[in-house]
């Protein structure tokens, strides 16, 4: 089984978020980047398929050279090879088109993508690449087992779970549940050293043009001061909620 794990290079969740160029670009200055958490759950599950079922695992990212440390980390965790599509990731459709070409050229049986990246939260790419490659698709996937060309996936639905039976080729939009946080792997020294020897292939983009343009980013308004109300003073609490917060 050939597995491709799509890896987004995203800011660490503790990063301070700022914008430049008239609030149209994300300011990467001083920001630490990591593997998108939803993708890391998928990568860890892919490592399980590699170790238990002999799968080969490649990782792919659409981005500039600055994303290579993230791919190297995936190699250090255990991926066999990495592919970087050498273009800036703009919108979901552009990324999906690039990834679709990589998937077709590599004849992958299973594509694991995070259900969304934690930076732009588009949540579009997994579904789009399934459509573009004529593969089956399970989103919000929290469990995945593969037996030959048959797959059994569990996906999270509102208030419960749904078990789905399907076949390869398959694209999943994965999330926590594929593995637990305690299962995530930290690269050991052997892995880090071996990552140097593994192939990181750079492919040029297929020339697709971006269909959307960012006009402006905005941050949520800063939180106001906290007002403490005595538990004995319910009238004051009602007054504040009604007249000041205007929520009741």
């Amino acid at each position: 089984m050939k597995i491709l794990v799509c890896i987004s290079h995203v800011p660490d969740t503790t990063s301070k978020i700022n914008f430049t160029d008239g609030d149209t670009k994300f300011d990467t200055n001083g920001v630490q980047f990591v593997i998108n958490p939803n993708d890391e759950f998928g990568l860890t599950r892919a490592m399980w398929f590699k170790e238990k079922q002999g799968a080969t695992v490649d990782v792919v990212n659409v981005g500039g050279p600055e994303t290579e440390p993230t791919l190297r980390k995936a190699l250090a965790i255990g991926a066999d090879g990495a592919i970087r599509v050498n273009t800036t990731a703009t919108d979901g459709f552009a990324v999906a088109k690039q990834l679709a070409d990589v998937i077709k050229n590599g004849s992958y049986d299973l594509v694991i993508a995070g259900r969304e990246s934690i930076d732009y939260n588009g949540g579009m790419v997994p579904g789009m690449i399934a459509g573009l490659t004529n593969a089956n698709f399970v989103n919000n996937c929290i469990s995945l087992e593969v037996d030959g060309t048959n797959a059994k996936a569990v996906r999270e639905i509102d208030g419960g779970k749904e078990t789905v039976s399907t076949t390869l080729p398959l694209v999943i939009g994965g999330q926590k549940g594929l593995v637990e946080e305690s299962d995530l792997r930290i690269p050991n020294m052997r892995g880090i050293m071996m990552a140097r020897q593994k192939p990181l292939t750079i492919v040029e983009p297929n020339g697709i043009t971006t269909e959307t343009t960012t006009v402006k980013f905005e941050k949520p308004a800063p939180k106001g001061a906290v007002k403490l109300v005595s538990p004995d003073n319910l009238d004051e609490l009602v007054n504040l909620l009604h007249n000041e917060a205007k929520v009741i």
Partner: protein, 388 residues
């Protein structure tokens, strides 16, 4: 990232180590600080990750990497705020294991170095004695040769990993009349008859099992002698360069940690309507502290670079420890002051950091002794030669 010394692989290692410490070590630190015992499982996890083999030959399971991996190992250990835990790790990996690697023969390395790299055996280095610390040549522990054995008598103190380690690297006089020419290095197992240890209570480094060790007619097979008989003193002196540089690097790293923590605190703490990082009196102190810390860090990196190339940097490593530990004490004292009353509370990291830092100008050669060594080198033109 300082790209003059650190590559992308170094950076990947730093991130990996940070993640590992956060996940596997930090949740246990407060417990280990209270009990003074570092649980055994974490040694094995360090070994499994390959952290004890950074600097050692592949033949024995190491990775034979450059010294800047060690620099990262030391720096990150200082940034989880337990000088005692950090000391336990680096005393094993760079005090005991350095002697095993440099002076041990193949059999000794297979028996002790390989399991030290995997985290299955913990080592300690026993040099300091109750009657003299920095006066290494004046040590009183003896190793009298009897047939194909040596018999050790004497005592050692302030030994990091002195209680729970599995083996001991011990300096003893094989010819007491020959001064420092009569010293040799032995390796022996913890359970050897006649070895006993007592745990010491200390100001800081509370997670570390610092101990006093007694040797009462301890019979050691002659093949447990490491290196040549009578060469113990130059072996020790040679490795002191690395030990002092380690303590210099530790010092700049904990000062940096203190500054990072204090700056975050100062950006949130308000007084008189503004955050306290806006007060000029404090801003100028921060500027001075950062300047002093960065100068030490850059100097330490340059000494590490030269040591990595094989240069004999005993003078520079001595200067590194002397200056960096002084700087760290001053910076941490000042950072605690920035936190006011909270700095004095155990719920905040500066109290422990202050205690732990105080060991810097004492352990591994007091600042007074280091000044004597530097003075001898720069005034009297004394040249400390490496062991050959």
């Amino acid at each position: 990232m300082n790209t003059m010394y650190f590559t992308e692989e170094h950076q990947l290692f730093r991130q990996s180590l940070q993640d590992f410490l956060k996940k596997e070590v930090v949740p246990h630190i407060d417990k280990w600080e209270k009990t003074g015992t570092i649980e055994r499982f974490i040694w094995k996890k360090f070994g499994d990750m390959g952290f004890f083999g950074l600097n050692y030959p592949e033949q024995y399971g190491g990775l034979n990497l450059d010294l800047f991996y060690t620099v990262i190992f030391l720096e990150e250990l200082q940034k989880i705020n337990s000088g005692g835990f950090a000391a336990a790790m680096w005393a094993h990996a760079y005090l005991a294991m350095t002697h095993v690697n440099k002076e041990g023969n193949h059999e000794i390395k297979e028996k002790y170095l390989t399991p030290s790299i995997t985290g299955d055996k913990i080592g300690c280095l026993c040099i300091t004695e109750p009657f003299g610390g920095s006066d290494v040549a004046g040590m009183r522990t003896t190793a009298e040769k009897k047939g194909d054995t040596y018999v050790l008598n004497g005592s050692k103190t302030f030994i990091t990993n002195g209680i729970y380690s599995d083996y001991l690297v011990v300096a003893a006089k094989t010819n007491p009349d020959a001064g420092h020419h009569g010293m040799s290095i032995f390796i022996l197992d913890r359970d050897t008859k006649g070895v006993s240890a007592t745990k010491l209570d200390k100001l800081g480094w509370r997670a570390s099992d610092t101990g006093e060790i007694a040797f009462d007619n301890v019979v050691v097979p002659a093949n447990q002698l490491m290196g040549e008989e009578g060469k113990g003193f130059p072996y020790i002196m040679q490795h002191f360069a690395l030990e002092r540089l380690i303590m210099g690097i530790n010092a700049h790293a904990r000062a940096e940690f203190a500054l990072e923590y204090a700056l975050q605190y100062m950006s949130e703490r308000t007084a008189f309507g503004k955050t306290i990082d806006k007060f000029q009196a404090l801003r100028h102190k921060v500027a001075d502290f950062y300047t002093e810390m960065e100068i030490c860090k850059e100097f330490n990196y340059s000494v590490a670079y030269r040591l990595n190339k094989g240069e004999y940097v005993v003078k520079e490593a001595t200067m590194s420890k002397l200056q960096s530990t002084k700087m760290a004490d001053e910076v941490i004292y000042g950072c605690l002051q920035f936190l006011g009353g909270y700095g004095y509370m155990e719920d905040y990291p500066l109290a422990r950091l202050l205690r732990d830092s105080r060991l810097g100008p004492i352990g591994g050669g007091t600042s007074e002794i280091l000044r004597e060594i530097i003075a001898k080198m720069v005034i009297d033109k004394k040249d400390y030669k490496p062991a050959t």
